[in-house]
């Protein structure tokens, strides 16, 4: 295992410890619990709170987006595993200031079950909650089964936009509606070139041949659409673009934000080469790009590969995307 870690079973605790040592001025642990990361200082009372949660191993997803203009809290699971409903519930209780809590997270079995349980517990204590699930991965199910799709990098745009709406003072239903509107206009697809290793498992859960590329593979190694012989960056870009463009109306005059997201081991250079190809395809259709995001936003530890997200914008969504946000792992300042 080519990992710079200590005991595999301490992996998550030590990551959180490192985060708190580095960013303890901007994040805090709820009652010292390393599985509940909250914004510090808390948002002004009366703001709708937004929380997320999910497995570890995807930094900056999920907790990296806790901060001003984005999320109020994040429940932290083990590597690729949901946090417990108990932690989620405690987090929801901690961040609610009366305006209610939006649970905004990726559509995965474990996370769904646990957040549902947590929301029931919250309801029991008269805390209003709303749930919006991120299902942006077009490779994970055909359009007619879109409700089964997984949530991947597109969730970062949803955090950003919902976060801005909440800061602006919208109420719970409105913030949820903004998040949903954003997600209706967000599509992502990825490719993988190498597997990753869950520390406690110690070996890859799947393998990819040296000269092969997995089209549409999920961030935990879920199989994608097909395995192909290694392709050029331009070919990958246009394959993904076509798949996404079939679902978003991208016409002359449309505006989009594009995220080219590295899964972990893929260098920034390659992300930029793919960005270039996507930007050209958009330009050829007369589509303008607003605030491109090129970098690592949602990873799978040391997996090689990338995903491309296209987020179709209108004036409202642009304003929310542009609004200031600052966390230790994300800032709108230089986007």
């Amino acid at each position: 295992m080519r990992k710079l870690i200590n005991k595999p079973e301490d992996f998550v605790e030590e990551v959180i410890e490192g985060i708190m040592m580095a960013y303890g001025d901007r994040l805090r642990l709820h009652n010292g619990d390393s599985r509940i990361v909250l914004r510090n200082p808390p948002a002004r009372p009366g703001k709708v709170a937004i929380v997320t949660g999910g497995g570890s191993g995807h930094l900056p997803v999920f907790l990296g987006y806790v901060g001003r203009g984005m999320l109020d809290g994040c429940a932290v699971g083990n590597v690729f595993a949901s946090p417990s409903s108990q932690k989620m519930f405690e987090m929801i209780k901690a961040v609610d200031s009366g305006a209610g809590v939006l649970c905004l997270y990726g559509n995965y079995g474990g996370d769904n079950l646990n957040f549902d349980m947590a929301c029931e517990m919250a309801e029991f204590e008269d805390i209003k909650t709303k749930t919006v699930r991120v299902r942006d991965d077009v490779a994970s199910s055909p359009p007619e089964m879109a409700e089964k799709r997984r949530g991947v990098a597109g969730m970062v745009y949803a955090f950003k936009v919902a976060g801005a709406a909440a800061e602006e003072g919208l109420n719970l239903d409105q913030v949820a509606a903004v998040a949903q509107k954003a997600l209706d206009n967000i599509r992502t697809m990825g490719v993988a070139l190498s597997p990753c290793v869950v520390p406690q498992v110690g070996k890859p859960t799947f393998s990819i041949k040296e000269n092969e590329i997995e089209i549409g593979m999920g961030i935990h190694g879920e199989p994608g659409i097909e395995v192909r012989e290694m392709m050029t960056a331009d070919a990958v870009a246009s394959l993904i673009f076509d798949k996404i463009a079939a679902e978003l109306e991208l016409n002359e005059g449309s505006e989009v934000s594009v995220m080219v997201n590295g899964l972990g081991a893929t260098p920034l250079e390659e992300l930029l080469i793919v960005y270039r190809a996507v930007a050209k395809l958009l330009a050829a259709r007369g589509v303008k790009v607003f605030m491109p995001h090129v970098g690592e936003f949602a990873t799978s530890m040391e997996m090689a590969g990338l995903s491309v997200t296209i987020f179709k914008l209108d004036e409202e969504l642009k304003r929310y995307l542009r609004a200031p946000a600052s966390t230790p792992f994300y800032t709108s300042e230089n986007k």
Binding site: G77, N78, F80, A81, S82, P83, S84, S85, Q86, K87, G109, G110, L113, N114, D116, M117, S140, K148, V198, Q200, V201, T205, F206, G218, H220, G221, E222, P223
Partner: protein, 205 residues
């Protein structure tokens, strides 16, 4: 059954999960993420450990504690699903400090019902339900034969149910992405279900 028996049961299930950890991992790696071995060991270890200290005698409250503890230690899909079963049993056993085989069977049925509601699943979908639900039917059918024999029948039904998952297509969780390709594969969750009844048979026998 009484509260103290739950402790023995949890320890036995923990032991069988420990012994089968790598097997469960391997099964989950076929069409999942490979955490099944780890999470089952974590969940039942936490249960067993908690029950060693626990003095609660009300079976309802005790099962509720078990549900929360299990989910907290193993919040994976199957961990959470297990918690729903325990929660459903808790509701059915509330107020009781002793439960007959029939009470336990009814509680178990209620647990499965709650789980199916929450997980939006039913038998035949290549999940743990395909061992747990036949086991429930076997228990009900063998109530009159006493715990030992009823559990043996349940274990047999669970084993057959688990084997039958090979012929099923996954519709839930990660495995569902495999669609047709999941045919022929044994579902790891159903094996975990079978192991539970195997462990219970040992302590009852």
């Amino acid at each position: 059954m009484k509260a103290s028996m739950l402790r023995t049961a949890a320890a036995a299930i923990r032991d069988i999960m420990v012994a089968n950890k790598d097997y469960l991992t391997a099964l989950d790696q076929q069409n999942g993420d490979g955490d099944l071995g780890i999470t089952m060991v974590q969940g039942y270890s936490a249960l067993a450990q908690m029950l060693e200290q626990e003095t609660e005698q009300d079976l309802g409250k005790l099962f509720m504690k078990c549900a929360t503890r299990f989910n907290d230690a193993a919040p994976s899909t199957l961990g959470t699903i297990t918690s729903f079963v325990l929660m459903g049993m808790a509701k059915a056993l509330k107020g009781k400090t002793e439960a007959s085989l029939e009470d336990m069977t009814a509680a178990y049925e209620a647990g499965l019902a709650l789980m199916m509601e929450k997980a939006h699943s039913k038998p035949g979908e290549k999940t743990i339900l395909d061992s747990l639900e036949p086991a429930a039917r076997a228990l009900r059918a063998n109530l009159d034969k006493g715990a030992a024999q009823a559990l043996t029948a349940a274990a047999k039904a669970a084993t057959e149910g688990s084997e039958a998952t090979r012929t099923m297509k996954s519709v839930h969780g990660r495995a569902a992405y495999y669609g047709e390709k999941s045919l022929g594969l044994l579902d790891g969750g159903s094996v975990a279900g079978r192991l539970i009844f195997e462990a219970l048979t040992h302590i009852a026998g």
